[in-house]
Point group: C2
Chain length 310, copies 2
């Protein structure tokens, strides 16, 4: 395969990995983490959610809030590193965008919210006017019929966002579908496309490869794949693939692997897992909200499977 266009990689450990530990990474760990991402040459470090996830999470930790003091401390620890923050439009006010920009956040990522299209557009324009890079992430794309996907993509393009992200929140997509989807949305919008994988079916890597083959240029990963449910693309493996599969030797695996070890040492919940109930969710393209239902009263995995199939 010929070398792909330059891939921009985002480390989402501190944000998506937060779903594994209640976002309780402390400031010291987060600071060292981002410093090492800079050392490795990873293009962006996503340092957290601003003001919470979509649904309120009790006792949410530091990287689920990403307060100003946290941002400025992270910024003070690095030089050229690009920092990214994710936000649900309903959780923030315009003034915070201005403030985050002032504190040195380079990229904002807004989660798509079909009930707040105007608000999202205003936020995208504001962030753009400040000179930030702006992504809009379409979530649960496996549930979006093509017509809706393209309609949403058009809104994102017209808002002036820099990057349109497709998030396989259910981890149920297969490489062929990812290829088709990326190819379609890229052709339709002409925008740079990003892909955010979940590993329910063990296809995070295969799907990210398919996304890049179809022209995606932004890829999300986290150390050990630490992320919601079955987790994300494993960043340390992805950068190894770019090296072995594409001859891209831009990343220093030394500090990267050291950081994986540190992460495993501070939080056992970062270790690779492949929960079987999340596999079943992926098999049937169900969301994490369906988990309680399929697991309820089941005393075996085969019962969980039958509950999901029902």
């Amino acid at each position: 395969m010929k070398a792909p266009t330059k891939i921009t990689n985002l480390d989402v450990t501190l944000r998506d990995g937060g779903y594994r530990n209640g976002f309780t990474f402390n400031q010291d760990y987060a600071k060292a983490h981002v410093q090492n991402m800079e050392r490795c040459g990873v293009e962006y470090a996503e340092i957290g959610y601003r003001n919470g996830s979509f649904k309120p999470i009790t006792d949410i930790g530091l990287t689920g809030i990403t307060p100003d003091s946290y941002i400025s401390d992270i910024r003070s620890g690095v030089s050229t590193a690009c920092l990214c923050v994710m936000a649900h439009p309903k959780n923030i006010v315009a003034e915070e965008i201005v403030r985050m920009h002032g504190l040195g956040v380079n990229m904002l990522r807004f989660c798509w919210d079909s009930n707040r299209i105007e608000l999202t557009r205003d936020y995208v324009r504001l962030a753009k006017s400040l000179g930030m890079t702006v992504c809009v992430n379409l979530t649960r794309v496996s549930h979006q019929p093509t017509k809706l996907l393209l309609a949403n993509a058009e809104i994102v393009r017209d808002s002036g966002a820099d990057v349109l992200y497709l998030a396989d929140s259910n981890g149920s997509l297969t490489p062929t579908r990812v290829w088709d989807m990326v190819n379609l949305v890229r052709g339709y919008t002409g925008m740079p496309i990003g892909f955010h994988a979940h590993d329910n079916l063990g296809l995070a890597m295969s799907n990210s490869i398919a996304a890049v083959k179809a022209g995606a240029t932004f890829i999300d990963g986290s150390l050990r794949g630490m992320g919601k449910g079955a987790g994300n693309l494993k960043l340390e493996l992805w950068l190894a693939f770019l090296r072995c599969g594409h001859g891209i030797a831009d990343y220093d695996h030394g500090p990267l692997l050291d950081q994986v070890e540190r992460l495993e040492n501070i939080d056992i919940r970062s270790r690779p897992i492949q929960p079987l109930d999340d596999l079943v969710l992926g098999l049937f393209d169900l969301t994490v909200e369906d988990k309680d239902r399929i697991v309820a009263d089941a005393t075996s995995m085969s019962q969980i499977f039958l509950n999901a199939a029902a």
Copy 2:
């Protein structure tokens, strides 16, 4: 993607997984395991090595020896299940092939041994004459230049073996290389091709998909990927992919997932891991024999990385 030709799947848990636990699966577990593979519809269950691995392993357990009594007990527990045994030609005598056939082994897999080409050919012919299905597995294919690979493949074809397996023993191949290799060897020999993945770079799934795209029709996997080093293709994920990606609903995921749970309960060493030193081996296409050298004296992963790069 159009549905592929019928894929024949081999569960290698009891054999390759043995490298994680000294081959100490007991008879009860192995019997229940194979029964559940039959229930799931997995085409072949590899029940062990006959008379050991390539190098002697101290105190090797039951599935590293696969004695006659074990074979007949496994056979008595199933009806139509196809049983497979792997052997290094140097470890067995001809008479054992006749005996294994009599005990109900359906498939023999011989590991390629460049010092015992004549012997292997004789064994393949004997097993074929008895009506068994015979595979020859070329190991460490990442280290074989094309000319050598084709010369070896030709010998395997001329021996009359049914299936030629390519084993990515170092887990260092990328999907493009796998596609090229399978396509080349398949075109050259006209034989059914099998692929045996290792997951050092997290590419076991992507590489197996590439192998099937290039026309491979035999795929090895193990529950949880339990296998040497970084492990194998995870069979439960692979069969989920065949279902979601190709609409192949021939396999019953209920008993399969139950069996994964049982395996994790009897042996914690079956749980998904992604050892960082094995990742480094994969990055540099090194063998497991190189592990001691790169790990020696290193106090951090970045040192191990530098040792491997040196």
